[in-house]
């Protein structure tokens, strides 16, 4: 039965349809590769008029459709269309695709007949390709080829040579292969076979050369299927299965064999292809089915790993695939694996702890045994996986993850005491909080096992220094340097340890021992980094033991240091370090009252101070008092912006508040409204003051915050933000979570959600007034005594309940947001804008809150 034509798919049926329009339609369909529609249209066109050129176009459409069907695996239907093409345009030469299709269908004789009838009309390339197809078939043992060709045809003549080459390759006889290939001429129909065999021969040693040889075989060659299979086999092994996914069985078998896949491997792969998919479920089933081949333990372990993503739900898959249920051990292990995906460290800590408990209950065996090592490894797992103990000090909360992990690590040493990394890791962790009680047993145990370990010795030295055990620290440093003579870090620590020990001896009035330690430090201070410090120390010792001599020595040293404030600082630091006062030392050298520095002296002073602070020391209060004023005078020197900023920062760290303020003020004169200097000015002004900053100060701070943000100076902006939060009004009304300021970053936020207040603000304020008393609330609101007296008088007249109503009414007037449940303006912040003004309690009353009134809260 004729297939009904699709509505609108082919030519229009109207008799008025012009041939020209139909032709245009048919050609358009052909150009678009819509061959089925194109053939119908051209057939309709030929019904109008049988033109030769239209027949040719119909023939082309038949050919296109035939190729389409052949590609879809419909060879019979394709052949019919090829035959139609021959009928509609018999003058056309047969196409190679048609001939190849005939050959694949076993119709060799039909092709040979075509070759006799139309061979003269075939172009050279097509004829060569067609003969390569026949040669391939002849080589494969297709007798019809030889039967249909004359005896002197090269396909027959060179057939035995080609077969000999192929056989030689298959049996691994390279010499015979070489000889046979040499006998195949370039213009032979077996030329492509020769290229393939040469490629296979060279592939192991020269894969690139082999690939190039294969590329010489065209897609239209009869040897193309062979070339394709070879190319796949010689490609990347990892992608071979994927490349072969759509290949036919012959190609797969050939390529896999050539790629070195054994029969068992090929069978297993074919099995997965049949069941479809390589997802977790398919692999689980495969592991279960082939567990005997794969090994029971191995297959089981891999199956467990496949369960992790969907655990515990996925546990059912293993039984569904025919496997046995998970044992308690397996369940705990997979639970722990699964917990490693959690963001919450406690999930992982608890899961591995449960597994460790399970292993311990099973009997871990003696320390160092495999079972004990397993326990130790499990106890250390979370730390090694999450690296939680690196760079952190022990939390104060004993229930914190780091504390739990530290306990687990310590326990792990019971089962595996030979893991030096664990000793050092724990020691470093506890040292960050100077927890020497925890450190000492670990070091003792670790050094007993690893007495020559540099890491542990260094940790031991650091622990000794942390405990002021300088003698012990020096001993460890000696041990380190004996093992590693160029260890500059240890050398520096050793010098410091001797100096620290010497100072300790001075404080104990053991000056002879102090000198001995000082000499020791000099012996190790090979690069002279502490020479100046040692010289001053020695001078101070002289001053203690022989004042006139010490005075002369120190004066000479101060002069050598260039005098001035910088030298005074150096001497003062040493004096304070040995437990004496700076005043005592400075008096001895005639500089009891330090003078303002020159600009060069200022730079030297700040550099010296910075070095001192970077050593982790804090400047003594005496020195703060001593240097603050002379330094303030030095703020007049014309520093660069970077120098000014660095100076302010150093002065901040040293607690030199007056000087810091002076430098900030001076910098603001040169670079007005620079955020970092506004910050320094504000902070230095506020230091030691309990009063609240006034509106102007907060306004400047807010302006600086905006400017810092605009300039991309996030660090300064963040510091200012913290200050603004710190000086925000007291929380009479609950603020939004995270503080008021946090909302400032949310442009879309119009304010906190009224729903978050625990009670209506009216009720809340009434409760506050009841608790605090009317007078106190009014006082806090900034009302004068006279105004408060007026409220008291009114209270006597109208009663307490009414006067509270009036106070609330006053608040409603003064606070536009009050009635809506919104909090009062939180102080300066971007929402209010940099110039926004907060309302004072009353328009007519009191002065604005300021430093002069320490009791003053900014209620509104």
């Amino acid at each position: 039965m004729k297939k009904p034509r699709k509505v609108g798919a082919a030519a229009p049926k109207s008799p008025q349809q012009s041939a020209a329009a139909l032709l245009a339609l048919a050609q358009g369909q052909a150009a678009a590769g819509r061959w089925r529609e194109a053939t119908a249209s051209f057939k309709d066109l030929l019904k109008i008029e049988d033109r030769p050129e239209w027949r040719l176009e119909l023939a082309a459409a038949y050919a296109g459709r035939a190729r389409e069907l052949a590609a879809k695996g419909m060879p019979k239907e394709a052949l019919t269309l090829w035959e139609n093409r021959a009928l509609v345009a018999p003058q056309l030469a047969p196409e190679l695709d048609y001939c190849a299709l005939l050959l694949r269908q076993g119709k060799v004789q039909a092709v040979l007949d075509l070759l006799v009838q139309a061979g003269g009309r075939l172009d050279g390339a097509t004829l060569t390709a067609l003969r390569s197809h026949l040669a391939a078939l002849h080589l494969a043992g297709e007798t019809a080829v030889a039967a249909g060709l004359p005896a002197d045809d090269p396909i027959r003549g060179l057939g035995p040579t080609a077969a000999a080459a192929l056989d030689a390759y298959c049996r691994g006889d390279d010499a015979a292969l070489h000889e046979a290939l040499a006998a195949i001429p370039f213009r032979s129909p077996y030329r492509d076979l020769a290229q393939v065999l040469k490629a296979l021969q060279r592939a192991p040693a020269a894969p690139a050369e082999a690939a190039a040889l294969l590329e010489r075989v065209g897609d239209d060659s009869g040897f193309a299927p062979l070339r394709r299979a070879c190319a796949l086999a010689l490609g990347p092994p990892e992608t071979l299965p994927a490349q072969l996914a759509d290949a036919g069985e012959q190609t797969r078998r050939f390529a896999l064999t050539l790629a070195g896949w054994g029969d068992e491997r090929q069978a297993l792969w074919e099995e997965t292809r049949r069941v479809g998919g390589t997802g977790p479920q398919a692999l689980l089933r495969l592991l279960q089915r082939r567990r005997a081949l794969l090994g029971e333990d191995w297959a089981r372990r891999q199956a467990l790993r496949l369960l992790v993503p969907g655990f515990p739900k996925s546990a059912a898959l293993i039984t569904e695939g025919g496997g046995r249920r998970l044992s308690p051990d397996e369940r705990l292990l997979v639970t722990a694996w699964h917990a490693e995906e959690s963001r919450n460290p406690w999930d992982e800590i608890e899961a591995w702890a449960a597994y460790a408990d399970h292993l311990i209950e099973a009997g871990p065996g003696p320390a160092g045994s495999d079972s004990a090592l397993r326990v130790a490894l499990v106890l250390r797992r979370v730390d090694s996986h999450r690296d939680l103990l690196s760079g952190v000090a022990p939390s104060q909360d004993p229930e914190s993850p780091d504390r739990a992990l530290a306990d687990a690590l310590a326990l792990s040493l019971t089962y595996d005491p030979d893991d030096r990394d664990t000793y050092e890791r724990l020691v470093r962790y506890y040292l960050r909080d100077d927890r020497l009680k925890d450190v000492r047993p670990l070091l003792e145990q670790g050094l007993k096992r690893f007495p020559k370990d540099l890491g542990l010795l260094t940790a031991a030295m650091d622990a000794a220094l942390a405990g002021d055990a300088f003698k012990k620290a020096a001993r460890y440093a000696h041990e380190i340097l004996a093992l590693d003579p160029i260890n500059s870090g240890a050398r520096e620590r050793l010098v410091k340890a001797h100096l620290a020990h010497a100072r300790k001896q001075v404080r104990a009035a053991r000056y002879d021992l102090a000198r001995k330690e000082l000499d020791e430090s000099g012996q190790w201070d090979q690069d002279g980094r502490r020479r100046e410090q040692r010289a001053l120390f020695a001078g101070l010792l002289d001053l203690i033991e022989d004042e006139p001599r010490g005075r002369d020595t120190l004066r000479a040293q101060i002069a050598a240091l260039g005098g001035g404030l910088s030298a005074a600082l150096a001497l003062s630091l040493e004096a304070v370090a040995i437990g004496r006062t700076a005043a005592w030392a400075l008096k001895a050298v005639g500089s009891a009252k330090p003078q303002a520095p020159t600009q060069a002296d200022l730079s030297a002073f700040l550099a010296r101070l910075r070095t001192y602070l970077e050593g982790g020391e804090a400047l003594a209060t005496e020195l703060q008092r001593l240097f603050d004023k002379p330094l303030s005078v030095a703020a007049k020197w014309p520093l660069t912006l970077a120098e000014s900023e660095a100076a302010c920062d150093t002065l901040r760290r040293a607690g030199l508040t007056l000087a810091r303020q002076a430098f900030a003020v001076a910098a603001l004169k040169r670079w007005p409204r620079t955020p970092v200097f506004v910050l320094h000015q504000f902070e230095s002004r506020r230091t030691g003051r309990r009063s609240h900053p006034d509106r102007a100060e907060l306004g400047q701070l807010e302006d600086a915050w905006i400017r810092a943000r605009e300039a991309g100076d996030e660090r300064t902006a963040h510091r200012i933000e913290q200050l603004i939060d710190q000086y925000a009004p007291p929380p009479f009304f609950p603020g939004p979570p995270g503080g008021f300021f946090t909302d400032a970053f949310d442009d879309d936020d119009d304010g906190p959600d009224p729903g978050q207040f625990p009670m209506p603000p009216d009720v809340a304020m009434r409760a506050i007034i009841e608790i605090m008393g009317i007078d106190q609330v009014l006082k806090l609101a900034g009302l004068s005594a006279q105004e408060r007296g007026e409220f008291k008088r009114r209270e006597r007249e109208v009663g307490r309940a009414r006067i509270i109503d009036e106070v609330l009414e006053l608040m409603r007037e003064e606070l536009p947001d009050f009635g809506t449940g919104m909090p009062p303006a939180p102080g300066p912040g971007p929402r209010g804008g940099p110039k926004s003004k907060r309302k004072t309690p009353r328009a007519t009353d009191t002065k604005p809150p300021g430093d002069d009134d320490p009791e003053q809260f900014e209620l509104f």
Partner: protein, 97 residues
Amino acid sequence: MSDPYLTLGLPPDADDAAVYAAYLAAVKTCPPERDPQRFQALRTAYESLLTHRARLATALFNQEPPTLLEVLNRADPVGAPRRPARALFDALLRGGD
């Protein structure tokens, strides 16, 4: 890499020396300049089996699921390239796909 033993072609009871020897042999056939990816896989496998403690840790903590290729490698590792039999050639010469 779910099984470093497979990557290095080692039995599960391999000791330090065997691991080192397998790694050296593998690297010789696959130096980093030729196939960096494969070399990295070898290196990772080697490091995960380097010591007895590392081997125990790998067994406990490696949760990488297997790939089909690894299952196949376990069942029957890829061997040296084999020359297909003549029959396989003939099938393709007949135009088989």
